[in-house]
Structure formats: structure tokens, C-alpha cells
Symmetry: C2
Subunit: 527 residues, 2 copies
Amino acid sequence: MDFKIALAQINPTVGDLEGNARKIVQKIKEAKDAGADLVIFPELAVTGYPPKDLLLKPSFIKKNKEKLSEIVTETDGIAAVVGFVDEVDGKLFNAAALATDKKVIGIAYKANLPNYDVFDEKRYFAEGESSQVFDVKGTKLGINICEDIWVDGGPTEAQAKGGAKLVVNISASPFHVGKIKEREEMLAKRAKENGVFVAYLNLVGGQDDLVFDGGSCVFNEKGEVVAMCKRFEEDLVVTDLKEGKKVEKSQEPVAEIYNALVLGIRDYVRKNGFEKVVIGVSGGIDSALTATLAAKALGPKNVVGVFMPSEITSKESEVDARQLAKNLEIELKVIPISKGVNAYEKMLGDEFRGTKESITEENIQARIRGNVLMALSNKFGHLVLSTGNKSETAVGYTTLYGDMSGGLAAISDVPKTTVYMLADYIKVIPRNIIIKEPTAELRRGQKDTDTLPPYDVLDDILNKYIEENKSTEDIVKEGHDPEVVEKIISRVDKSEYKRQQGAVGIRITPKAFGYGRRMPITNKYDG
Amino acid sequence: MDFKIALAQINPTVGDLEGNARKIVQKIKEAKDAGADLVIFPELAVTGYPPKDLLLKPSFIKKNKEKLSEIVTETDGIAAVVGFVDEVDGKLFNAAALATDKKVIGIAYKANLPNYDVFDEKRYFAEGESSQVFDVKGTKLGINICEDIWVDGGPTEAQAKGGAKLVVNISASPFHVGKIKEREEMLAKRAKENGVFVAYLNLVGGQDDLVFDGGSCVFNEKGEVVAMCKRFEEDLVVTDLKEGKKVEKSQEPVAEIYNALVLGIRDYVRKNGFEKVVIGVSGGIDSALTATLAAKALGPKNVVGVFMPSEITSKESEVDARQLAKNLEIELKVIPISKGVNAYEKMLGDEFRGTKESITEENIQARIRGNVLMALSNKFGHLVLSTGNKSETAVGYTTLYGDMSGGLAAISDVPKTTVYMLADYIKVIPRNIIIKEPTAELRRGQKDTDTLPPYDVLDDILNKYIEENKSTEDIVKEGHDPEVVEKIISRVDKSEYKRQQGAVGIRITPKAFGYGRRMPITNKYDG
């Protein structure tokens, strides 16, 4: 086909109607300058994705439509597909406008509304219809939205049957490990089985828990990739459908996870107006990974590490924390917490007289550290990144209001085994941090394995329970020790109230804690 | 009609399949002993409501069906309508089984699945069908589920047209202020317009943020109430449809709110296995109300108040706190926090040198208090109730990891103006606590009104913004000062990250923070 399309893979901000519209107009100009016939933007490009309950505000819907109208006036001599929210007879639709020469010449509505995991689209939108075929400069094209192209026998098929030679899908498809490969296979299949070009435009950027990985692309009728945008960054690729150059496919999973976390941190921090982050650096691997990701995301000068030794803290921890800061070229403050520990001992002395030392005293240390970080945050306007990983978050081995303090839980969806994978991949973390035995250092001689199985066993059980929704019985049948499984599952269930008070975390697995996993706190099911 | 029905208004626990089934069997026996022809249980009685993502566990669905089978074997000589989850061809249905003489003789499926506010039913269930009419001892009856009866021209009409003389609706309809009246008017209308008896069976009990208020009832064909269960407690009412005695209608709103909060606290605490609660009692009205509600819910001996003076705390506060404890007959511990404040000053002295006193120092005090409460909680196994009201939660006048610490935010959906209404209604709170000017006492001479408009103005703006989704422009048009409105709305938006880390709170308004209000944190919309 002699038809030039521009993939405008942009990173909008939720709610920033003004800024998003400006970005869209800018990209329309660039696409026109590059000679494109059609420029494509992601799903809900005008509002950002997901706008959640902003969609319940009538003023928000109205302004989003006004912005679309402004954008349409910029389509002189080029066609554009722009995601926005349409309202018809009081119903909202997740919509894509096709505009050219300053007029909207067609609108496609999302037909398949995801309402599972992190998605709530049936909360807001009515199911629409997108079997229509449009004509742009003699090229017949169909337009559908995100989920629509995942459905066998869905709108893509209807559009191909209706004569479309090119199917445009605009998406806001969030990353999780394995998703990129899955998506590419699906798109190849869809193009091939329908004998059409598929132009797939995915959002890029971080939005709270979600990271959109981009990788917008064009598949030809044979199911071959003929154009592809960068992953995890904004890009504009202009391609002629005549050409058929092959492009590289997905990265290795660990690189994808790394890039997703870096983008997720950067966008959460920047889009919320922060410059610097502050991180409690303990000398352990979780805080080391968090600091490393932050240094990559924001630049080392925007990362402040804080080492907060107590009398239990080992010399080894201090050496490791200092070496990490040196390797990363970040500032490291040292703030001992013994005075705080002593003060709590005195304040609570009367109440605690005659009681045994317990988890209470451990929690107090963690909370003093959390409070010190928050004080630095409040005083200097830095955002605190908390450092708990998914494995410990799952079983409640993090202290509420202690090390759980922070605006973003950077690695709360990263299982401990993946923490190690990432540390190996990144290479900048001091070797000793990686090889030493994990400990919370809240009690003398404490080791994680005192009360937990080895992390490969733990992560396998957690994966089966959390991601695969298997029961104790199922998991035991797959070869795990019944006592261990019961203990782990009981801990996961009992920690639900903690997780629901945790900071938002960046989702990198198919089932993260948070928005996509909605468990009752009051819950007597023990399966 | 010569037909005796038993309204079995039970309080199940989410996930407690065993316990819920036992309770259902017990009530079947009691109903049979009372000579009932039909006994009715609430929506999803077997699983509790809402089971949320427990529904994604295959083992949970399987066991719920096993429990239903056990229950059915107890229906010798009586018919029963029991809410459960059915699974057909891999699809889940929110279902009501009609069983008699040890057999299921019919199943109705919920046709209208709520997917707004706190409801996520389309996440789990497929839409079913409930137009069928059944015969129990010669009485023709239709069965539908919760939302189904709210819909004009819905299943009730279809069933009446199909010959039903009695329509049974099983519900899990959560309380908010005004809901009881609204529900009764709807039921009266539905009975009258269709010329049928309506037997409405509502769940009772607290489940995390939700309180189900019961008030199960029977309306005759004229739309008159002829039987009604108690509100906010379990009840079994057996009534003959021949009889037509009028019963009393709804309570005054403040009494309803009071009862809802008491039940919500009691069930959260008890169902999660706690005996006692611990509350920071400041001498202010919010903690006074929280302690009063807790004393009513759990008994005074299960409430521990903790007064934590700093050097800023006034003598008046101490007098008021002590008087409150005396009036409520609860224990009051006094734990001064000055040692903690001094320790943080020393720990942070180097870092803070040359900076001005700010909100940071106020937050440190609030966090020390939060940590002291959590230490008591960890050591003695009491649950912390946090004390923030809706108005301050809205504008972020609560300290994250400070006074926001706790397992349950008892009054986080109670606007400050309603806090005063409740205090007046309850009568046990010392007069001085009610009449003195509100202050957080985190700075010398501090008053809430230094930085906030009077509470009646604040609450009106908040109500328009949060419950009615109005824009700045709309609210200003209704007569508020533009500067004040902008400041308030900006504070609400900026506090989103805090609220998402807050403890679950009891919902008493149509739009509570938490599960029913899903706002992005990263959000540049300023409408």
C-alpha cells in the first residue's frame, strides 16, 4: 500500500487535558512534516489512562471534548486517530476520533470493555461498536480500541470483512513480565488471519501502579513486523506500508522489568512534581536495588540515601551502604536512631514493664526510621521511596508506618528471586550485598530464613497462591511441605490490612497487590 | 394469602463458609419450629458479601456449592431461599437457590449487576435471568436479587406478569444516610405497582467499609409494610401474609448513623478476632466521638484511651480527656511524648540546622503518638482505631503514619458537622469538648479555623465536590468564595496519596473515600 502512517507514541499525564492536547498537536505537526497520511495516538490520549473516577465529573468530560475539537482544527492535510471520551445521550464511550482537514469523519467506540484485574471500564463506559470501515486517501481502514483486538472474531475480523486493508488499534496496554511477547504474537496472528496490515499504537509512560511500555508497531498481512517504536520511551515512527523491513523483537525479560521499573519511578516522581527522592539504605539488597533504579530514573544527584544505624546494625551493613552510595554516586546521610529507640523505651517503660521483648521492639526501630525519612521528606520536599519487595509484602515482613512509609513502593511487585536477578543484571550493586544472607537487622543475629523458607520456595508458593489462585491443597499436591504452605498462606491473608495501607507500587507481574487484587480484610476463608 | 414466611436476617462473615452454613441451618430449624412455609436468607448468605476476589479462587466456589448442598438437606418440610454463588459452564452467577424437601427446585440468577461506587459485580458475575415463577405450597412466587428490584420494569414486573403473588428479593444493600427511607419508598412502589406482596430480605452486619442495616420487611399489595425485622442487628421475624399489621418506619438520620457506626466498629473488631481497641484521646471532639462509639460497640472495659501530652498540650485538654474517660467508664493511660520529641530534635538536629519550624515538626509529634499507639497494639494485641473525620481526611489535615495510624478509621466518612450532630445526640461527651474551638494542638495557639473556613462552609464545599462531582466553577456559582473553593479542592486532590494509605473507614454517606471513590494519585486535572 502506498500509505504513510506515523505512530505517535506519546506519554500523556492523567487529567492534564491542556498538556496532553498540546503534545498531540505538536506530534500532528511533526507527522505532517514527515509526509504522513495518517498519524495515530494512543487510547484516551486526551485524558491519559486510566482516568478512573475523573470520568464521573461532568466538567472533565466536557473539557476533554473541547480539547478534541481544538486538536481537530490542526488536521489540515493529514488524518489523525485520537483517543478521547465521547458522551452520547448521557452515556460515556471509550472512543477514537478519525479526523482530517479539520473535521471529524468518523468515531469508533470500544466494544470490549475490560473489567478484570486493574481494569474497571464497565464502571464508566457503555459498550460501543467499531465494525465501520473508513476511507482515508483511498485506503480502507478500520479502527478499534485495545481489548477489541485481543478478542477472537472481534472488531478486527468484522472490519477486514468490511473491506479494511489496514486495521488501526489504539491501546493503553500495561506492562507485565511476558506481556510484550504475548502481545506481539497476538498482533501477528490477527494481521495474518485477517490478511490486513495492523497498526498498533500503545501508550508509553508510568501512571501510579501501571507502566505502559509502548512498542507501538505495524504488522503486514503476513504477520511480520515492519515498523516499531522504542519501548519505555516516547517515539514517533513514520513508515510507508509499501516497505517491509523486519525489525527487532522483544528484549530479555530482566531488561524489560528493569526498564519498566525505571520508567515507573521516573514518571511517578516527575508527574507528581517532585525532583528528589529519599531512600532508607540499610546495606541490604532491596534498598540497594531501589536506590539503583532511582539513580537511573532520576539521575544520581536526585537520590538521597539515608543510613540509619541502631545498636544492632553491623559494621558490614555500613560498609556495604557506603560502597553502594559510592558506586551509584549518590549522597548518603548517616542518621543514627539510638536516641529515638531510647526515648520510646522510656516513654513506654511503665506500660511494658514485665513484658517480654517481641516484634513490638522491632517495629519501633522500623517506625523511627520511617519517621526520620518522612521528616526529611516534609522538610525538604523529597519523595520517600519505600523498599519492600513482593515476597516480604506478601507475608507481612514489612513494618506498617515503618519501612512501608513512602509515596511509592518502587519494588513491591518484584519477588525476592527477581530482586536478585535484577541485581545481577544491573551490575553496579556491591557484590557483598548480593551474596550475604538477608536480614532485617531488627534483632541480634536475625536472618530472614529463621522464619521463612528459602526464597525460591517462598516465591513459588506465593506465585501459585496469588497469581494462579491455587488453594493450599493444590499447592501441596505440587510438592510443597503442607506446614510451610499453610503458614505462608495464613501470613498472606493476615497481612491484607497492611498491604491496603501500603504506598502504591509499580506493577510488573500479571497480579500485583493493590488495585488489581481486591481482597476483603475481614475474611475467614482459609483455603 | 395463607402463607407463612420467615425473614432470617443473619449476619454472616465473608469467607466463613462453614460458620455461615451453620447459622443458616440453625435459622431453618427455628423457622420450621415457628411453622413457616418459607424461610428467606440474604444475598450471598453462604459466602458473605462482598466476597471480592475470593470469587476468583476455584476452591472457594467449589466449597460454597458444597455448603449449599449441605444446607439443602435440612429443608425437610420447609422451603428456603438461600443466596450463593453458582457456576455454570465456567461462568459465575450471583444466585438464589429455592430448596424444599431436600431438593433444589429452582435457581434465580441476578440480572442487574451493580458495577458503580463500591460495587464490582461485573468483575465476577455474568448477567443472569430471574423471570421464572415458582410454586411453593400453592403460592406462586418470583425470586430476584438486590439491584433487580431497584430497576423499573425489571424482574419484579416480569414475575408479577408471570403470575407471582409474592416476590422475594434477597439483598446485601449497604447503609448510607437516607438509604433506608429511599429503599422503603422503592419497595412500597414496587409492591403496589405490581399488585404483589414483596418480601425483602437484607443482610445485616459490618464488613470492612460497609454496614448492612437489615430492616428486612414485607410489603403487601397496597404498598403497606406488614412485617419488619430490627435494624442493625440479627433478627428472625415470622409473619403470615394474611395479617396486615402496620409497623414503624425509619429512625431519624442521626440515630441511623450512630447505629451504623456502632455496628461497623463492633463487626470489624470482632470478626477480625480482636477484643480490645486502643484510641488516642486528645481531649478533642473526634477522638471523644470515636471512643464513645467504641465503648458502645465493645463495652467500656474493651476500650483503652491514651492521652499523650506534649509541651504544647493545654491543661484544658487533659481535664476534658479525663472527664470523657470518666463519663464513658473507660481506662485512660497517660503517656507524655516529650522524650520522643526531644529525641527527634537531636537525631535530626544536624540535618535541620538553619531551617524554619514547619509542618515537619507538627507531623513528628503526630507520628510519635501514632507509634506509641501501635506499640501498645503490637504488645498487647489491641486494635488501634484512628480518629480522623471526613472533613479533615478530605483536605489532608491528618498526619500519614501519625493520627492516621490504625486498623479502622472509625469516623473517616463522618463530616465534622455530623460529628457535632452525633455528639449532641449521644449526650455522654463532656460539654466543653463540644463547645471549645477545634485545634490539633501541634503548634502553640493553633486553631483549625486559622487555615480552614468554618466547618459548615467546608462541609458544603466538600459535599458538592466529592459526592456531587461538581466543578470549582459550579460550586462558586452556588455562592462560595472562589479563593476558598480553589484552595479546598486543591487540598482534596493533593491529599489523594494519603487517603489511599489510610485505614479502611466505615461508609455512612453515598460517597465515602476508599473503595467507592477511585481517583488517580497522579492527576493534573484541576477542575
